[in-house]
């Protein structure tokens, strides 16, 4: 189905796992900046659902401020990352996908600045001298659908409910029928950061951890009662889904900290109780979450080093309170699928943020 990528010397700084895999790049203009992910997709990706991130680069440009300066910075960032993928990593143009995220689209519509998105994409095409270059502005529905198509393998397509916990919201969905035409969108206005922010606000002058934990429980209980239960029930996901997959930064963090020995696995299977225990341990014994302790049982040096680096990255991205907030939100959503009568399988997806690239590969390459 896919033509193999030919390797040149310039690609020496990208180390693919397999000789006959595809290397693709996804460049996304997001709210905070431009992000490029170079991913390796194996021949069996459609059936196995495995893809690996080879490079992850981002440029902070704050595009949604919609000022001339941020416009210029975003255009420069987008062009520079595209040139890097094309010339630096020698990825063919047809394997480089460029999109504008749903977050940018929503903000532009709200601020009546949609013209800036058109200006950006036109200027970009001009700069790279590719008038027919497609820069799709995706909406929430498309983003969620692309993620499902890119992350979930075909054999689990119609039995898996996928949701992505972002910083400000949670979105996802599932295919209710036996085709990929109809997609049920699931959306919540709660994300890791929004839960953490509201909790901080409720803490008032007392910033101690016990008070944060107490206030967090209240915030999450409120979110569950007012939004989560309703959103899950109305989505109709429960009776149709055997597998519940969670992506987003917090899913990556929980997967890395609970199963460092599975450092090479892009998907980590967990139980509801396991995540609950993890959350309790986070609160009571956060010191236990250090790389030396967590990687103690890993024997192979390469795996140990990789796990150590990833654990440290998690602890750099999420502080203690953010981890508690994100995990708490995840538990509240997972809980809606936990039942004594039916077993659902929970999976944490580590690289969900680039799932859409994988979906683009399926949809556009070689057509």
């Amino acid at each position: 189905m896919f033509a193999p990528v030919l390797w040149g010397n310039a690609q020496a700084n990208i180390k693919p796992r397999y000789a006959n895999s595809r290397i693709c790049a996804g460049i996304e203009v997001g709210s905070k900046g431009v992000k490029m992910s170079v991913i390796e997709i194996g021949n069996n990706a459609k059936s196995s659902g495995a893809f690996y991130i080879l490079k992850d680069t981002s440029v902070n440009t704050d595009f949604i401020s919609f000022t001339p300066a941020t416009f210029s910075a975003t255009l420069n960032g987008l062009t520079s990352l595209y040139q890097t993928a094309l010339s630096g990593y020698q990825i063919p143009a047809k394997n480089i996908f460029t999109v504008v995220s749903s977050g940018v689209k929503m903000q532009a519509e709200k601020d009546k600045k949609y013209g800036q998105i058109n200006n950006l994409t036109d200027s970009f095409r001009l700069r790279i001298n590719e008038p027919s270059r497609q820069v799709e502005v995706v909406d929430v529905m498309k983003e969620a659908k692309l993620s499902h198509l890119g992350i979930i393998p075909e054999n689990r397509r119609f039995s898996t409910f996928l949701f992505d916990i972002g910083s400000g919201n949670t979105k996802g969905g599932f295919f209710p029928g036996n085709d990929t035409e109809t997609f049920h969108l699931f959306q919540l206005d709660w994300g890791t950061k929004s839960v953490a922010n509201l909790t901080e606000k409720r803490c008032e002058a007392d910033n101690s951890l016990p008070n944060y934990y107490k206030q967090l429980a209240r915030v999450l209980a409120g979110a569950e009662n007012t939004d989560i239960v309703y959103a899950v029930n109305t989505s109709g996901a429960y009776p149709l889904s055997d597998n519940i997959a969670v992506s987003g930064g917090i899913a990556w963090a929980v997967a890395t900290l609970t199963h460092p020995e599975l450092i090479d696995n892009p998907i980590v299977s967990v139980s509801f109780d396991e995540v609950k225990k993890f959350s309790e341990k986070l609160y009571r014994n956060f010191d236990a979450f250090n790389a030396i302790f967590l990687t103690g049982a890993i024997n192979r040096k390469a795996e140990k080093d990789a796990a150590t680096a990833e654990i440290n990255r998690v602890l750099k991205v999420f502080d203690h309170k953010a981890l508690l907030a994100g995990t708490g939100l995840m538990i509240k959503i997972m809980r809606q699928f936990e039942s004594a009568f039916e077993t659902k399988h929970f999976y944490l997806v580590k690289n969900g943020q680039v799932g859409w690239v994988s979906a683009y590969v399926d949809q556009y390459i070689d057509k």
Binding site: N44, S48, H259, D264, N265, R300
Partner: protein, 300 residues
């Protein structure tokens, strides 16, 4: 007559003198005797008091240390003793102590002695009781130790037994094959040529004579020549297998099936990795956390 009269007067004078002397002497003796008796009584009371108090002080120390349930009662008794002691001491300090005072002091001393004796006997009965309790406690401790030992022994035996049961209910494997095959014109042919091989076919049989399983799980680990575990489905191998010794192992595939005891269950599946490496692929089978079989195949 004059002489007789003088003699009579002299006799009367003498008689009167003598009477006066005697009467004055008797009075003197009476006073002296009364004081001596009083002093004697006071000295003896002092001795009794001192003796009682000295012996009491020694006993008090041990009595005070005798804590426990009788502390309240003991405190009451001690309070009474201190009160009596104070009262007796106050009487004896009096310089103008009267007979009645001394009598009172004697009664109080007797009372004090009774109380001290009572306390002594109570103290010794507490000691005896303590010793008895201590003996019972020692006995109970011994019994508990025996029980603990028994329980530990039982736990060990239970553990050994459950290990035996677990071992007995673990599958035995046979006919383990890891076959690299080339597919040509829809026909599969085993090959060891890396360039020709297109998939692995894995087959094995398991048997167990004592257990039925509704949901048996056998884990297959295929290690590639580069040392990494072969994974062809990220979702299928998304967890780790825990071995008997607590080690967590990444696996290639988990096979789930229903099993009736005594049945020779033949299982097989194929894997199509993204690439094949030159060298030796090793295959291990795990059930119940135990290694139940292994094989290897080398590709050239």
């Amino acid at each position: 007559m004059i002489l007789l009269s003088a003699a009579l007067v002299g006799t009367w004078v003498y008689h009167l003198y003598d009477k006066a002397y005697y009467s004055s002497q008797r009075k003197e003796i009476f006073i002296k005797d009364s004081l001596a008796v009083a002093q004697g009584v006071e000295d003896s009371l002092h001795r009794i008091y001192s003796l009682t108090i000295n012996s009491l002080d020694a006993k008090l120390d041990s009595s005070i240390n005798t804590e426990g349930l009788l502390k309240g009662e003991l405190n009451e008794k001690l309070k009474e003793i201190y009160r009596l002691r104070g009262e007796i001491a106050a009487i004896l300090k009096k310089t103008d102590a009267k007979k009645e005072d001394l009598e009172l002091a004697r009664r109080k001393t007797a009372e004090l002695q009774t109380l001290v004796l009572d306390l002594q006997s109570k103290n010794s009965s507490i000691e005896e009781e303590k010793q008895q309790i201590s003996a019972v406690l020692d006995k109970v401790n011994l019994q508990v130790k025996d029980l603990e030992g028994g329980m530990q022994q039982l736990t060990r035996e239970n553990k050994m037994l459950s290990e035996k049961v677990s071992l007995a209910s673990t599958f035995m494997s046979s006919e383990i094959k890891l076959s690299p095959v080339a597919v040509k014109n829809d026909k599969e042919q085993e090959t060891t040529n890396t360039n020709k091989v297109s998939k692995f076919i894995i087959s094995f049989a398991v048997l167990n004579n004592i257990s039925d399983y509704n949901d048996a799980e056998v884990f297959v680990i295929i290690t590639q020549p580069d040392g990494y575990v072969l994974k062809t489905d990220a979702w299928e191998s998304s967890s780790a297998l825990q071995t008997k010794n607590g080690e967590k192992k990444i696996y290639t595939r988990k096979i789930k099936f229903e099993y009736a005891k005594g049945e020779i269950k033949r299982l097989f599946f194929s894997l199509t990795p993204d690439e094949f490496q030159k060298g030796t692929y090793s295959l291990q089978l795990y059930h119940n956390g135990s290694l139940i079989g292994q094989t290897a195949k080398t590709l050239h």
